[in-house]
Amino acid sequence: MSSEARGDGPDRAGAAGKSASLTVDGLVAGYGGVVALDDVTVTADPAGITAVLGANGAGKTTLLRAVSGMIRPRRGRILLADHDVAGRSPEQIVRAGIAHVPEGQGVIPELTVEENLRIGTMSWRRQQGLRAHRAAALEEAYTRFKPLADRRRKLASTLSGGERQMLVIARALLARPRVLLLDEPSLGLAPRVMAQVMDLVVRLSREQGLTIVLVEQNARGALAVADHGVVLNLGRVVASADAATLAADVALRHHYLGF
């Protein structure tokens, strides 16, 4: 895809089209009186899949929220390529190139599938021929995600769990991100559908050079697709290694990952 055809132009760090790394450096973040992330440093390599694992309450979702701007970090940097976006608002961060698919209900059930998708384009900068570009981008999404095409005028509330997941990922992709944050994409899905979602994730990184940060309870499944893994416990990084090494470390798996 050429950058003209993409029809967008959010403020990006670095040249458009090149894969970007995401580095979280010394991040401290929390809610009210609780510190959920304590001096966390994680690097997601460009065009790679980085799994963030750990038990409930470890800080995985908090990490993604801090990166996407949903919560304001108290200390630390968030570097997209070399550009620090810590402390910016979610609207600014998605324009910088980081898209976040939050855990759980990500669709807006009161809107149609098409409307949900169009929302994904709201971060695009105003420019010539915006409407045409938007329409083209939507068509592209429909081509890639056939079930959505079949239901484009239906309310999102009528979609199955797997279709909803597809919708939220498609919507996030429409923002043309360079980094995609996925929070428990397989949650509540049947195993077969889970596998399809994981396949999709892999293809996105291989084909589009998207840098993916994948938070998963299902550590085994995540490590099977990831290049690199980071294990959090009580807000701290307790392990960081390539996926194969982590998967082979039985003690670690038992202690922190539950398998």
Partner: protein
């Protein structure tokens, strides 16, 4: 129970101060003392309802009207002694409060505010529907005289101030007891999280209805006092402006605080007179003068909510803590007068319906 003697002691001291002031000051000041006492009685009930049990009411003026009209009718037709009339007025209003509380038990937030707003607007119009009984627009006159044992020279205004102050103090002591009792604790629990309260075995609906009854009764007592202090009960005295003034006083004084009821009442009674005086002395028209306090209340309400949510009482407590160290009350975690958990400064900077979670 240990603190009841302390409260009574404070009440007696205040009563003595007021008696002294009423003797030293002129009749107009006596009238203002009575006005303040009336407002304190009503505002105290409202601050308990809104600050402690978290239910907003814009219709307590209607309960005042019920108390006032009951008093006027009883005095007019049966000429019973005032203390008896007072008790009956309180009982009638309590029943009304119960009815409203039951009807409103399922309502939350703006729905409750709207329903009570409409109540405040609609109820006084009954006086127009049955003008024979209620005197229509002209209202009913109330005759109230000083008792014989005080002698012929005891000014009526002073007696009115004493009676009003006495009733106000009794109300405050009773409300203070409720505040510290299990009932008060239940109110706070329901205010902060009624799901958790229910899990604790607290009957949330009953607690809310109880709060309405208490608040209505206070307002009814205030209405009865208003009847004997002003000598006239007419629908024009019970407009929505009254209900809003009560809420203003409760907020400015400090929501949930009984002392705040006093500060707030002082403000809404004394400021308008002062403002009108200042305005006319500067050559402004009296209608401008009358409206300056109104505009000022609006600004103050906004500023209080944005900057000093705990009102005057909160500010005073902070001052006292600054000078004397944290008091026993604040160390045992005197609950903030907010109807929901007060978020801290670090929470997500998004809209009111952001939901937090950890994982």
């Amino acid at each position: 129970m240990r603190t009841l003697p302390r409260r009574l002691g404070v009440a007696i001291i205040v009563a003595a101060i007021v008696a002294f002031l009423s003797i030293k000051l002129n009749a107009f000041r006596d009238y203002q003392i009575a006005e303040i006492a009336v407002d304190v009685t009503a505002v105290a009930g409202l601050t308990v309802l809104t600050g402690l049990s978290g239910q907003i009411s814009l219709g307590n003026g209607a309960f005042m009207a019920i108390g006032a009209y009951t008093t006027a009718l009883l005095l007019l037709h049966l000429n019973w002694p005032f203390y008896l009339v007072l008790v009956i007025a309180a009982a009638v209003t309590a029943v009304a409060g119960g009815i409203v509380g039951i009807a409103a038990a399922r309502l939350r937030g703006p729905y409750l505010a709207g329903a009570t707003l409409l109540l405040g607007v609609a109820l006084p119009s009954i006086a127009y529907v049955y003008p024979g009984t209620f005197g229509g627009d002209q209202g009913l006159n109330v005759v109230f005289t000083t008792p014989a044992f005080l002698g012929a020279n005891f000014p009526l205004t002073r007696w009115q101030a004493w009676v009003a102050t006495l009733v106000a103090l009794i109300t405050l002591v009773l409300l203070a007891n409720l505040d510290r009792s299990r009932i008060g604790r239940n109110w706070r629990a329901v205010r902060d999280n009624d799901v958790a309260a229910a899990l604790d075995g607290i009957n949330a609906a009953a607690a809310r209805i109880r709060a309405f009854v208490v608040s209505a009764t206070s307002a009814g007592l205030a209405g009865a006092l208003l009847a004997i202090v002003t000598g006239l009960v007419a629908p024009g005295a019970f407009t929505i402006t009254l209900s809003i003034a009560l809420l203003t006083a409760a907020v400015i004084g400090g929501l949930g605080s009984l002392a705040g009821a006093l500060w707030g009442s002082l403000v809404i009674v004394l400021v308008p007179t002062y403002a009108t005086d200042v305005a006319t002395s500067h050559g402004l028209s009296s209608s401008t003068g009358a409206n300056i306090p109104v505009a000022a209340y609006g600004v103050v309400l906004i500023l209080v909510m944005l900057l000093f949510p705990l009102g005057i009482q909160g500010g005073l407590q902070r001052l006292i803590s600054a000078f004397f160290g944290p008091s026993q009350k604040s160390r045992t975690g005197r609950t903030a007068p907010m109807p929901h958990v007060t978020p801290s400064a670090d929470q997500a900077p998004a809209s009111q319906h952001e939901k937090e979670g950890t994982s």
